[in-house]
Symmetry: D2
Subunit: 340 residues, 4 copies
């Protein structure tokens, strides 16, 4: 196997992250996130967000972040609205429902929700015989690699505020999502109530930073993540990593790097006549090959089979912070050979 394009969490972590951990290896730190690194990391994130008063909590995985935030916000009879392709609906083995809440879905367009989806959901749920829609879940980038523009986010959030719904952004791939869109990091405080800044899929060992902008969501969240098994004894392990990622622009650069290589792959593939399932500006691209071509590619590279497309197959290539230009060039050369 030459290389795996299966996902963006195949490699341990960025060297700067590892170095920061090494540097802290002789320290003693307080437990449960009450340490100086976590404090410093929060300060750095707040500065980049230009938001002094948001609350930040570090947890170790996306499902934990999602289940913790959603079950903290909703009352028992409330549901979260998501796009039917949304991660919480499809790929979390019922973790949201395990906290007692329905995930109500709208089809969306290109993996994204629009205000009309929310309006339809609200109209459909009119009385106490149905769940009450209490919040809206979206992700940036989405499950299929698309991104919301700042205008789209603003219109969603405006709609949510008018209708007393919380808006939550799953930022598992936020770095890549921001790099591919016109959304500014320091505008996010005005574009949602809560979000998480994903680390696991961006170049950290593990770790996601939940950022709470809305005052009403802040109280007792530390109780809630402990209750959900998401509070880490060695919380400083997460703090150290986010400190390293945000003390300069590392967090954002990793996403840019991913997107750049994915764009290189897209452009080359199109130029040699390989069709793509959709136009994804982020680090996931979905080229379409014949069954035989896929089998030949599988001898050289690892990747996910995505979906059948008529008699062909869409596969998924994911670039990561660690993917090199060289391996991408080699991939294109190998594909040229295969399709010729």
């Amino acid at each position: 196997m030459k290389y795996s394009f299966k996902n963006d969490y195949s490699e341990l972590c960025h060297p700067d992250i590892l170095e920061a951990l090494l540097k802290a290896s002789n320290e003693q730190n307080n437990g449960y996130g009450l340490d100086k690194h976590s404090e410093d990391a929060k300060k750095l994130i707040r500065e980049k967000l230009e938001c002094d008063d948001c609350d930040i909590h570090f947890v170790t995985g996306g499902t934990q972040a999602n289940a913790s935030v959603i079950s903290h916000i909703l009352r028992p009879y409330e549901a979260v609205l998501a796009c039917s392709s949304g991660h919480i609906n499809v790929h979390e083995t019922g973790a949201i429902e395990a906290t007692g809440h329905k995930v109500y879905t709208a089809p969306g367009i290109d993996g994204k929700l629009i205000p009309d989806d929310i309006e339809a959901a609200l109209k459909y749920h009119q009385d106490e015989h149905m769940v009450k829609i209490g919040m809206v879940y979206i992700s940036q980038s989405t499950e299929i690699g698309t991104v919301y523009s700042e205008a789209e986010l603003k219109s969603l959030y405006d709609y949510c505020k008018e209708n007393r719904l919380y808006l939550y952004i799953d930022g598992a791939r936020l770095s890549s999502g921001l790099a591919a869109s016109d959304v500014e990091f320091n505008h996010l405080k005005d574009l949602c109530d809560v979000m998480y800044i994903g680390g696991t899929k961006i170049g950290m060992l593990s770790g996601e930073a939940i950022v709470i902008f809305n005052e009403q969501v802040k109280p007792y969240f530390r109780y809630h993540i402990k209750n959900k098994g998401a509070m880490l004894a060695k919380g400083y392990v997460l703090g150290i990593q986010f400190e390293a990622a945000f003390k300069n622009n590392l967090y954002f650069e990793m996403g840019m790097h991913e997107n750049e290589l994915a764009r290189y792959l897209s452009n080359e593939l199109k130029s040699i006549g390989v069709p793509l399932l959709n136009e994804s500006p982020t680090n996931q691209i979905f080229p379409i090959f014949s069954k035989e071509q896929v089998e030949q590619l599988q001898k050289l590279y690892a990747f996910e089979i995505w979906a059948p497309v008529e008699d062909k197959i869409a596969i998924r290539f994911v670039t990561s912070w660690a993917t090199s230009k060289e391996v991408c060039v080699e991939l294109i050369e190998d594909i040229k050979t295969i399709i010729s």
Copy 2:
């Protein structure tokens, strides 16, 4: 502050663990624990357990391990029996109840349960108007630093098997617990249905290894930990650490080291006339000082205030894999000065 004896998770991780992570920093690995390091770590643990067919799953924290195991085993109307000082009863912010199950408690003796406690609980719960006791939770070492002997574990497990109850051992501090008792690691397969081998409190960055001996508990556990938000995308980060800890005797040596220093402290304290709250053979000891002495100590060292004892105060010193003999000697010298 000279040194913190607050707990055994103040330091990042043992150098061998960190080195193993470093060594893997240029690899690509499969996600979700389906990687070669995790496989290798499981093999090593199985060898040391002398048990070919146990199932092993790595998760990132003790509360996650406890909530995942307990909610996997119990039916909705069933409760887990624990000692009233048990971690799941006191220090997990209702994480077990959050999965729907009552924690029913018995007072126990020295932080430990005996078969009579279980018998009393079974007698008390006789029909469908009360919860059904479905399993028993203990920890080795216990919350107050005591340990079960092998004979005690055997008698508990025999009682459980006769009464169709599952026995689960929380091994957050298993390394220290084993080093202080006559329980052999390779006998544990015959002493419980499920246990977890704690990493976070023993010298790893994070990580606990859930070991399932009982066939009936094995099916679909991967679904269950995903449902509980406990499946890590970068599962190999845990695999690499357990591989390093079990490829030689590191895991066991760390506990021995902790206990040795704690024993040194106990003996010295007794020899200079400082009383101890109880006889703890593990890495937590509870000396009793006057209020003034505690205040002076607090200027030099960090530690937990444990409990008032008449007009004095019991405090807790915890030794870790990283604690040095030197710092312990210095502590005793400082205490001598303070109490003289």
Copy 3:
């Protein structure tokens, strides 16, 4: 208001039921369903089912029955498959999710599932990153008044057994559903694992009889309904009612009566040119009127607005055990006047 066709639970209960309650008013009975009336009612139901060894439990409402059965059968990571119009998906305010389980939906045809729907769901859910489909929920009659034939039920149940899925029938309107289909009551034991015989919507004060055919579902169900708040102290109130409904053919006759009047209405409506939304053979029919006609009808009768149909409106008429032929004749006369 002349009459309400809003639903089939607007009237207290059938006179025979009330008389049975009256007759028992001077008795003392054991609590929690352990009384002679409940025993007798179970015996009568078992006789009519020709099934000696099914377990029967009485509860007070359909949502309680559904939530109790589903959460008893499923493990935490499992989901129930339902038609997207299914009652548990739409009209129980997230009661199933409140027990921790996802309701996964298939579109179905005419409110009914077919084996292909289940097959598609199983294919879609292949590993531990998605919920495991553990059971299938259907209702007889369905939410839109249609019914499964015996052949359809058999093919669904065969498919479920081959694929280790439990099949559960919500019989809120079972009496009407059986009367409109070729399904024999005494064949149901071979057509599902669990079902409930609905009383509330058929002419009882309240009460549903959960019938468990599958041995594996039987153990500890009394614990489970108590845990779900569904065990009634005065369980004999339910037993007395089911005794009265099953000591002769009352339960079945009430459904026949409902269907007969609904058929009368359908036929008359069609003969005077009023279109129907679908062909419902049971006690719910869905005629389509103009907005103005609906408004005039609303001055005389109560009914539900169902759905817009182009520029017209489908409404719902429900007949009950208490609906008389006279009131139906009058309704048709009034409609004739309105549409002329």
Copy 4:
């Protein structure tokens, strides 16, 4: 068997209740509690409470009422404090924990909590590693037949308000509890945040009236009871009963009757030298007999075995709205014969 003193729900319901149901048997009523009888019943209860603006909801059982109220009030990481003998702790098969919440217990005195119990619980729970006490659960009368005085309730509620805890009164036997204490029904609005007025154990077929005084608890409670499976389709069945019980003083008279007969039994038993386990002023009394005497009594009467008392046995006699003076006189005569 001459008579059962096992409990106060052995008899169907008071004749006035049954007559009210009979009278309504030809009506059509709206479903889900939105009917004129429910409205009227609420009006009558509000008048007797001298409280215009409380919200009232009817459900069918005590466990449903308790689970619905507690899970509506608490956030996921919060616990309810109860006396260890409290019904929710002992006799609801984990129904509260099934909604995700810990029942934290205090020993109490005579089955009752005092402010010191709450203070101790609050002191013990100081940070996010432990549950947060969010509300206090008591019952009037208690599980062992004792009652709170108005001063005791006031001091509890004052303490709760000062400490931002909700106080909830389980009134399964409120009628008997009020009749035995100095607590006025129309003072209850100032003595708790929420309570329920029990019907099942007082002479109704079924039904409990949840009364919400605190504004913060009111919103969306109908959604919540539907989510918990506690909303009855034929809600008017409950409304009719409460209407009958509160249009005059029937509800209160039934409790007085019960207490009067229990007092008669207590006094007679004491006068013939039969000791009582405690001084219960309500409808449950606990005489102590030898094993042989209990066996002889069991041939004539049904009752619960309560607890061993040295070499003797405490049993429980419960009087109900339906118990007659004659049967009590006969019981005393039979006891005289047995003990002589």
